[in-house]
Symmetry: C3
Subunit: 261 residues, 3 copies
């Protein structure tokens, strides 16, 4: 395959803003594969974008260029960056605002290099994705070396990413993502499965799930279950139903594996 370029935005599927981005990117002379990751990030939701990018970027071939335009601060003093994360053997490149959208990615893949991009005077103050990032992506696809992209920076802006905590009464965490099935992805790593199995219950807000399974289809339809999800975290689900609705949960709802008394 030729080089891959991905797009992640909060513009909405079918938005003309996405069309403008694609149109400009396709001016590259060198063939590349353009892959939509999402245009349905909730508007202005940097945290959701950070989860999505962090979750999926490593799946792409080394050298993939990820363009992320979730940018409520467009045109203000927040910077725009090019960044390379990973290792010498396998790395992912990014063009995005320096507003925390790489918070999770940079936890998982070491920062190799980053540069703060210059913003041309004639860029529309409201659409740097189109007027700054897309033209630079074209030049990178066509062979520009990242070293010519602006001044190097030592670190990327990040925000606090909630992690689980060990307490005397148990392990506490929270819901960090809800997928299209209504499954609740928590920030309790899969390594806690033995403790979950020993205790036999996962607390989600005021609710308690007492069916621990290996996969969704192991319990009857409608059962609330806890399991290790595909992201490597403990997940709460309802078999062929929606855990978010059944358990009245949302991003940030506390979860816990209690220490047996």
């Amino acid at each position: 395959m030729p080089r891959v370029v991905t797009l992640t935005t909060d513009f909405g599927s079918g938005s003309g803003y996405v069309a403008e981005l694609k149109g400009l990117l396709l001016h590259a002379k060198t063939p590349f594969a353009l892959a939509d990751i999402s245009h349905d990030v909730p508007p202005h939701d940097i945290r959701a974008a950070a989860w999505l990018v962090g979750q999926s970027c490593s799946a792409f071939p080394s050298g993939t260029l990820h363009i992320v335009v979730v940018d409520p601060g467009v045109g203000t003093e927040r910077g725009l960056v090019w960044a390379r994360l990973g290792t010498a053997e396998s790395h992912q490149d990014f063009l995005c605002p320096d507003n925390g959208v790489l918070t999770l990615a940079v936890q998982r893949l070491p920062l190799i290099a980053a540069r703060r991009l210059a913003i041309p005077a004639d860029a529309a103050a409201t659409f740097h994705g189109r007027d700054v990032l897309a033209p630079l992506a074209v030049r990178l696809v066509d062979g520009l070396t990242p070293e010519s992209l602006g001044s190097p920076i030592e670190e990327l802006a990040t925000f606090h990413w909630p992690s689980h905590q060990e307490t005397p009464t148990g392990i506490r965490g929270e819901v960090i993502s809800i997928d299209a099935f209504g499954n609740l992805v928590t920030n309790l790593p899969a390594s806690f499965l033995p403790r979950l199995a020993a205790t036999g219950r996962l607390r989600v807000g005021p609710h308690e799930i007492t069916t621990i399974v290996r996969t969704y289809g192991e319990a009857a339809k409608g059962t609330a279950v806890a399991l290790v999800g595909s992201q490597g975290f403990i997940e709460a689900a309802v078999v062929e139903g929606r855990a978010d609705e059944r358990l009245s949960a949302r991003i940030g709802t506390p979860v816990a594996i209690q220490t047996p008394a």
Copy 2:
């Protein structure tokens, strides 16, 4: 064009699960064209996926590889399959769970060959699309022969697909799909058009449509009409309106062309 690979899932547009699938697929060394069919199949809805795949797969070039991940039974004893449907001259290939998603496709295109895939021990029990199907797709794109894919099977799992029935009082069927316009696609084949025209009415649940047209725009805006739709079935529609709402219809609502008394 290079070979085509399509994706059909119930993960939701913009889902990180789709991004992971795409990222892995794009590791193929051989260039291919990746086409999204849908990521908006209703969650766990094997019947909707079967309709979508059956309706559209034949439109693709021979040799297209369709990856279908609508898989409520992931990680249970249901199998995963590679299948080839069609003829020696023109065939469509599939990688999917053996759960009925090919029910309609295999009614329309003869089964040429199928193989049950081995599931590696380290595959996440909740995401075989990512851990089994995507890597196999890459190998197939890069030249692996299907014969090395596991043991051959004689038939695919299918479920009962409702067909129309001739009765003394008329032809009875049901709504099998509702499109984004709210048009009701029935399972009454286009060949019944003369009888529909002779009777002059299509019954949809408790309602009767008495305007038979050749295309939507032949009646005034807001008129409920019956016509032969593009899928080769009789369809109920409301001109520039929504038949599903007007006629309170949904998948499974009975339809009939009554025999003149």
Copy 3:
């Protein structure tokens, strides 16, 4: 990059109709890049399609072929057209119904040539996109010259596109598009910014916006602001909120910059 072909429809994301279009297009022998612009144009909404196409088509490389299937009059006497807009150096090509979907595009890019397409007798009366446009697109991608496409026509069907008006009491316009953020794009060109700044207020329906900014992030979250948007028009927005809801505005809501008394 190889030639680009785009798709714009009102079929809905994940529709089988889109899959059929893509499958047929991918029969071209010559490699091309297929880009989805939108499948979420509101059903039958020619005006919305005209805005989307007019807004985004110029971003694509010269020679891009845009297929637009928003076609409530399919199968009636409305024609189908091939059209080329732009200049000798840089042009965009279109295959679409001649129903006004190019109204805005042809205001912005001069018509170079257009041809009315013949409709084969065996085309389904309800899906000319699949049965007429897609096969022609394949032939065009594979080298067919547009001159063989049917008889030339002198102009395209267009509808009245609302423009702003100068009145003794000020400049009057209306909301012409609402994006996924709820931002209200008006038909007041950016050139009125000095007058907006001088007056210090933008009227939107019964509401008055008194904060004029350069970009969204320049005012506190929740503030209603007026600014020049990325499309070159004056826009009303609510910082990290939804202007359409706050101001109860929709397409057609009047806007005005009043002349200082």
